[in-house]
Symmetry: C2
Subunit: 333 residues, 2 copies
């Protein structure tokens, strides 16, 4: 991908910390920042159930300082945040189901640790520029589509509640304490380096894995419409949000190419895989309780304010993703 001159000018030589930097979006962001000439450090807990994977920094590991640390480990935070120009804050627990079975862990990571990170910045690095990875999960079941940033927040699970608090802390610290922060509400993000072991990060991950392994995939429901951001486009949004003064204190939805139903997604993936099977079944009961139905984002605000737009169509994004895991499967299962 060509590097826009302006972003290279912003990040070259800059000291950047990425939390969750061995994870899916985090590692793609780290790779891009290295390309842009930034001096990048990452924090990642490498908790096996989460998204971190050392393979995600293959080829650039020596250009990145990797701290294996948990954002719940408060005493380490001051030294990690001190002296950074930018903090991309992507560490999080992403599984909706895990948030219901182990709600306190979700709270400690998505809510309590976020406050600790912000307090560390307030005390040790108040001029840092922060971009926080929030989620469309906080909207719950949409009242209307597409969902804009003014839509009520009515989370359907513990993860959504804690992510609201985590996002709110960032905006509060920006407004009251002057720590410049932006929140991006991500929708489903797909691409190389996502977790494919299971559906904890995204169901698309486990679909990719099963197709490549020649196993049938299960589509729950099937008629829900969803949008998907290709990871390179998500990375671009993080960089623009950090680079543009107009983004300070703001919240932006990220969307993607036009939404599709999950059944259409499955059909497309089978075709791109050159074969495969899927079955459509009813939602399992415990998941149905926290399913949000149709969702797709109105992302006109970030398009207008930051000049962002999704550049990768769904077919291209999925094809690249499948190709990546064909080559790399053994490092991810």
């Amino acid at each position: 991908m060509p590097v826009p001159q302006s972003l290279a000018r912003v990040f070259r030589g800059k000291r950047v910390l990425v939390t969750g930097g061995l994870g899916f979006i985090g590692s793609n962001l780290v790779r891009r920042l290295v390309d842009l000439g930034a001096r990048v450090a990452t924090v990642d807990s490498l908790v096996p159930e989460y998204g971190g994977n050392r393979r995600n920094l293959a080829g650039i590991a020596r250009q990145v300082k990797v701290h294996i640390a948990d954002v719940r480990d408060w005493p380490r935070l001051p030294r990690l945040v001190a002296g950074r120009d930018y903090l991309f804050n992507l560490a999080g627990q992403t599984s909706h189901m895990d948030s219901m079975t182990d709600p306190q862990t979700d709270l400690d990571i998505n809510c309590r640790a976020q406050l600790a990170i912000l307090e560390a910045c307030r005390q040790h690095n108040p001029t840092v520029r922060i971009v926080f990875a929030s989620t469309r999960q906080i909207y719950g079941r949409p009242d209307y589509l597409p969902v804009d940033e003014g839509h009520p927040l009515r989370p359907v699970d513990v993860n959504g509640i804690n992510k609201i608090a985590g996002e709110s802390f960032h905006l509060l610290y920006s407004r009251v304490h002057g720590i410049a922060a932006t929140a991006l509400r991500l929708t489903n993000t797909i691409g190389p380096r996502m977790r494919i072991k299971d559906a904890r990060q995204t169901f698309v991950g486990v679909w990719v894995r099963r197709l490549i392994e020649g196993k049938p995939i299960e589509v729950w429901g099937g008629e829900q419409r969803r949008d998907f951001t290709y990871v390179d486009d998500a990375v671009e949004a993080f960089l623009l949000a950090a680079a543009r003064p107009a983004a300070v204190g703001e919240v932006f939805n990220l969307g993607g190419p036009p939404p599709v139903t999950l059944r259409e997604l499955a059909e497309l993936m089978v075709r791109l895989n050159g074969g495969g099977e899927f079955t459509v079944r009813e939602f399992p009961g415990d998941r149905k309780k926290i399913d949000i139905g149709d969702y797709f984002a109105d992302d006109r605000l970030i398009r207008a304010k930051l000049g962002w737009k999704p550049r990768t169509d769904l077919e291209t994004g999925l094809a690249r993703t499948i190709a990546y895991y064909r080559a790399e499967l053994k490092h991810y299962v």
Copy 2:
């Protein structure tokens, strides 16, 4: 106050736990529940900066089982919640300023401990009926007045963010796990047994104290309009919310008599006190950042659904409050 027959029928002989039961609203609720014939236990941390005061149960202490425990002390929660028919969950950190200077403590009490209480209920007492004390602080600066329950939540301080999470956990557990819960969004509540040492619970407390002590009171701003619920009316709302099936899973604003400006409130209090002085000054800078301006509640929903209404006018409520502290001052300062 006459005991409505129906509430006595609901609560007589019932096993009730009140968290924050030595605090302001909690202790008034405990006293009423004892009158109604309930078997009442309380949990209170008696942290000196919070609202708990043993004097609040004067005269009924032997009829109430008092557990001095902190809701942050998880291992104790299962035994505290087990076997209760009702849980009135009022334990909380209420100071907006403290939430900004020590945000993690606010989070641990108002957010994390609430989740622990609900998990304890889910595992050890899923049939308990819960009423949670939420707050108008979660609305932030109103977009319109009066503020109804559909108003956007845009908290201006850490306390508001954590109270949203605490409230959301209750509603989620009600919806997903079937633990019947109701949340009441309280506005300023006044009356006997409120904290008057300082403004941590309500600025009205410190005003009452200073007037009785013959000291001038400070009015910050002065033109903000606010509503005030007399504590007996708030207690009635908690009881109705617990007693009425229509309240399950719902959120209700509590309001009060017609709102007044803070200057009008000061004038009224000076008059009821039979003298005193107040000065009007600009907001201190650190408080201005988190002030919400005008606020008063639209409480038509609870009036319509539960038949609640505020019965005590502001003058009567303030007069009773001042009379209480004239007699009891030494136990509260």
